[in-house]
């Protein structure tokens, strides 16, 4: 296990390097100029040039890249070109809302989606199955922001049950946090639930055709036991996998959800930074989200060995 873990972590290095090179080149080889953003509307060309020089943007690309890499190795993610704050501070500030919303979404999704998928597989081809499948196809078919708007209209404006926007830290005001987290989490969960329910159903259907399920029935076990004790755990690996790869989807959804609900999280920080050409921040954020993605999927791979004793690392 430790060896495997080490190997996987080492294997993540070239992946992150690919990400780093890609993002760096993407940012530098395409038009866009943080100096222009910084200087504002009335700046003259000459002022732009001065700012550019002072930001080090006139150095050759490889120099900039090596400088960035060197800084990274020393744990220095750089300083925002625009707001002049250390990138790490910015990220630390904006991280928690995103993490909280993501955690709530995942928990909610798993709690809702897995039973949905189980019931659908169990009642294969019944109306419940069709209902679940319809719902999950719908979940893939409606843009996140439309779902967001609909939920706001219904729960915040028409029924007046919840606030329409905002974020407060759970440590400050737990009920306030909860009230504001419900709608974004629901919005985000719509895709995730669809994804997980679908995968649970598909993989359970596969498993239900396996010999050991027949054996379990031949033992005279109750159907519920067959389903939850024998089938579900065997179906769990692909479901976990989808939770992992769906994480990328979650990040995308977060960007939109944070806009709709005005949550000061990492998604919006990234979008804002991209629009502002705030190179160090974009670089750090994409590297960070990619790193999290890699880690989450590593954690999920490791979880396989708990779900399925045949998998040993």
């Amino acid at each position: 296990m430790p060896v495997y873990f080490l190997r996987r972590v080492l294997a993540a290095i070239p992946v992150m390097l690919v990400v780093a090179v890609f993002v760096f080149l993407l940012l530098r080889l395409t038009p866009g100029d943080p100096a222009a953003v910084l200087a504002g509307d009335m700046a003259t060309p000459e002022q732009l040039e001065q700012i550019r020089a002072s930001l080090g943007l006139n150095d050759p690309l490889y120099v900039q890249f090596l400088r960035w890499m060197g800084d990274l190795l020393r744990g220095d993610f750089g300083t925002s070109l625009i707001s002049n704050q250390p990138v790490l501070d910015l990220v630390a500030d904006r991280m928690w809302p995103t993490i909280w919303i993501a955690l709530i979404t995942i928990t909610l999704s798993v709690i809702v989606a897995v039973p949905m998928g189980v019931v659908a597989a169990w009642k294969h081809r019944s109306w419940i199955d069709h209902l679940v499948m319809t719902f999950s196809v719908l979940g893939f078919s409606i843009p996140v922001f439309v779902i967001g708007y609909l939920l706001i209209k219904l729960f915040a404006l028409d029924l007046g049950l919840l606030p329409v926007q905002g974020y407060v830290a759970p440590s400050e005001d737990l009920p306030g946090f909860a009230a504001r987290a419900v709608l974004p989490a629901l919005t985000l969960a719509s895709i995730y639930i669809a994804l997980i329910a679908r995968m649970t159903r598909a993989s359970l259907l596969d498993v239900l055709g396996e010999d050991y399920v027949r054996t379990a029935r031949a033992k005279g076990l109750a159907e519920r036991r067959v389903l939850f004790r024998h089938a579900l755990r065997n179906a769990a690996v692909p479901v976990m996998t989808v939770i992992g790869t769906g994480f990328a989807l979650l990040i995308s959804g977060v960007v939109v959800t944070e806009s709709v609900y005005n949550i000061p999280g990492l998604g919006r920080l990234t979008v804002d930074s991209i629009f502002a050409r705030d190179y160090p921040v974009i670089q750090a954020l994409i590297l960070l989200t990619s790193g999290i993605y890699v880690l989450v999927n590593l954690a999920i791979d490791l979880s396989y060995s708990f779900l399925d004793p045949r998998i040993r690392y």
Binding site: L10, E210, G220, N234, P309, R310
Partner: protein, 540 residues
């Protein structure tokens, strides 16, 4: 009163006007009796047994007539809950594939205990004691450890013992065993058969034993039922059936079973060496940065020689390295050390490009006839691919394909059809035709008949013999079935754990084995005392 009394059972496909797959069959089993249900693949053996357990796949098959009486109680009239209650307590079933029949993520001890949980009110301690008791009875070593193991940590034989323990823990009246030993090595098979017999005697259980292996039948059956395509053909005491079958179908089935007595040796026709393997070594795995994949030494210093027009058999238990040798010879994998000479030319260390000219001199027939033909190509396309790779014009190759298909006994006009339109036996013929199209000097057949019913197997073996006589091709024949080896091979090499432990003329090796391992293999072969094709015991 019989324990199980199936009366006029009919099972059909669950659809409007669905065809019936089992028609009007009746089976009865007395307490303590072992009844064998035999028949070729698809004859309805499994369907009958699943119907008894109430485990027919929902929405696919349904019982449309008859009754199934278990101690006089009709299983077909029970509610699902009542039926569940009868399972494991009154009737139990064990399946063919012990790996997939056990839940891979639950410890085997828990899987057995689950039966007790579902049907009794024993305390944890009591239940644990019961589990240990039954594990002990099925002859498992170190039972505490075994109980805590997951299925994949046990060998095939051990897993099947677990299945048996699970089936018998509540001492059911009836045990149904659907091909419980087919996936096992002969030696393990013998142990399992003995175990079932022992337990049956101890508990007075009635056993319905499903198999297609006549050897097994001869070994254990009291009475035999023979099925063919959903119909019950014949039934009777085992000796009556084996010695004096009444129906043609049964006769054919029995006469297809190859005899364990080696056939008379053939004279050596040519001294030319088609294949010479010397000191071949193959080690799998290892290497790789930080990877700790264990290495497997799958072939150790294997040396073999094969003359033109002769057949060399490689036999041995599963995992002994037979396929490894074959694949090295074919250069589908790279040998770790040693030499392979084909027609005098060393090919062990050629690059893929250098190998190209020699490819056509070696061809292979694979085990699984369903996967060895590309399902998307017509069989003609599959056959002409090889010759055209070596520059034969298409028209000529097509003509040759037609010729070959005729040679292997395929109906005319089958060339344009696709593999799924043929039966397993036919597909194996096509695969042979494809190999022959290259006019190879050496044909490697890896378990080429193992997936076929005995009757089809006999036809394919005859075909190979006939072709060999005509073309003087050398055949490297890999099988785990000693009966087949005895009938087709001129020489036999016995492999064990990657080593050749005995090597010589078939008559010598199988007739008068010298190595202990060969002896134990032969001793374990079920029905070794019975000469099936001749309906009589083997002459001592």
């Amino acid at each position: 009163m019989p324990v199980l009394d199936i009366r006029n059972l009919t099972v059909a496909i669950d659809a409007k006007d669905g065809a019936s797959v089992v028609r009007d069959i009746s089976i009865s089993i007395e307490p303590g009796e072992t009844v064998c249900l035999v028949g070729e693949s698809g004859s309805g053996k499994s369907v009958s047994s699943l119907a008894t357990m109430g485990l027919l796949p929902k929405g696919a098959l349904k019982v449309t007539g008859g009754e199934i009486l278990l101690d006089g109680e009709d299983m077909l009239k029970l509610s699902p809950a009542e039926l569940r209650d009868r399972r494991a307590t009154r009737m139990s079933m064990i399946f063919q594939e012990p790996m997939t029949a056990l839940n891979p993520v639950i410890k085997v001890g828990d899987q057995i205990a689950e039966v007790l949980e579902a049907h009794t009110k024993l305390s944890n301690a009591e239940s644990h004691a019961r589990v240990m008791g039954i594990l002990d009875q099925v002859g498992l070593p170190d039972i505490e450890r075994v109980a805590r193991s997951y299925p994949h940590q046990l060998s095939g034989g051990q897993r099947q013992r677990i299945m048996i323990a699970m089936a018998l823990i509540l001492e059911p009246r009836l045990l149904i065993a659907d091909e419980p030993t087919t996936a096992l090595d002969v030696t393990t098979q013998l142990q399992i058969l003995r175990l079932i017999k022992d337990l049956q005697q101890k508990h007075g259980t009635a056993v319905l034993f499903i198999t297609h292996d006549m050897g097994v039948v001869a070994e254990i059956a009291d009475r035999v039922y023979v099925m063919n395509r959903g119909d019950m053909v014949e039934t009777g005491k085992v000796m009556d059936i084996l010695a004096a079958p009444k129906m043609d179908y049964t006769r054919r089935l029995l006469s297809s079973v190859p005899s364990l007595v080696p056939r008379p040796p053939r004279p050596v026709a040519s001294e030319r060496l088609a294949l010479q393997v010397s000191e071949l070594d193959k080690i799998y795995g290892g290497g790789g940065f930080l990877s700790k994949a264990a290495t497997t030494h799958a072939a150790k210093a294997v040396s073999l020689e094969l003359k033109a027009g002769r057949t060399l058999g490689i036999v041995g238990e599963s995992g002994s390295g037979k396929s490894t040798v074959a694949r090295c010879v074919m250069r589908l994998i790279d040998p770790s050390a040693g030499g392979i000479r084909v027609g005098g030319q060393e090919i062990a260390d050629l690059t893929p490009r250098g190998l190209h000219p020699f490819r056509k001199r070696l061809q292979m027939v694979f085990q699984d006839p369903y996967r060895s033909l590309n399902p998307r190509l017509s069989i003609e396309e599959s056959i002409i691919e090889g010759p055209m790779n070596y520059g034969m014009p298409r028209a000529e190759a097509v003509a040759k394909a037609a010729e070959l298909l005729d040679l292997v006994g395929m109906p005319a006009g089958s060339a344009k059809r696709y593999p799924h339109m043929f039966s397993g036996g036919q597909r194996q013929r096509i695969a042979i035709a494809r190999a022959l199209a290259m006019e190879p000097e050496l044909l490697v057949a890896d378990e080429a008949v193992s997936a076929l019913d005995v009757s089809v197997q006999a036809q394919v073996l005859d075909l190979l013999t006939e072709i060999q006589e005509r073309t003087r091709i050398a055949i490297l024949f890999i099988t785990h079935d000693l009966r087949v080896a005895a009938q087709i091979c001129d020489e036999v090499a016995v492999m064990k754990r990657g080593e050749v432990v005995e090597y010589g003329p078939t008559a010598a090796v199988l007739g008068a084995p010298r190595h202990d391992y060969t002896k134990s293999l032969l001793a374990a072969a079920p029905g070794r005392d019975w000469d099936f094709p001749n309906f009589r015991p083997v002459a001592a």
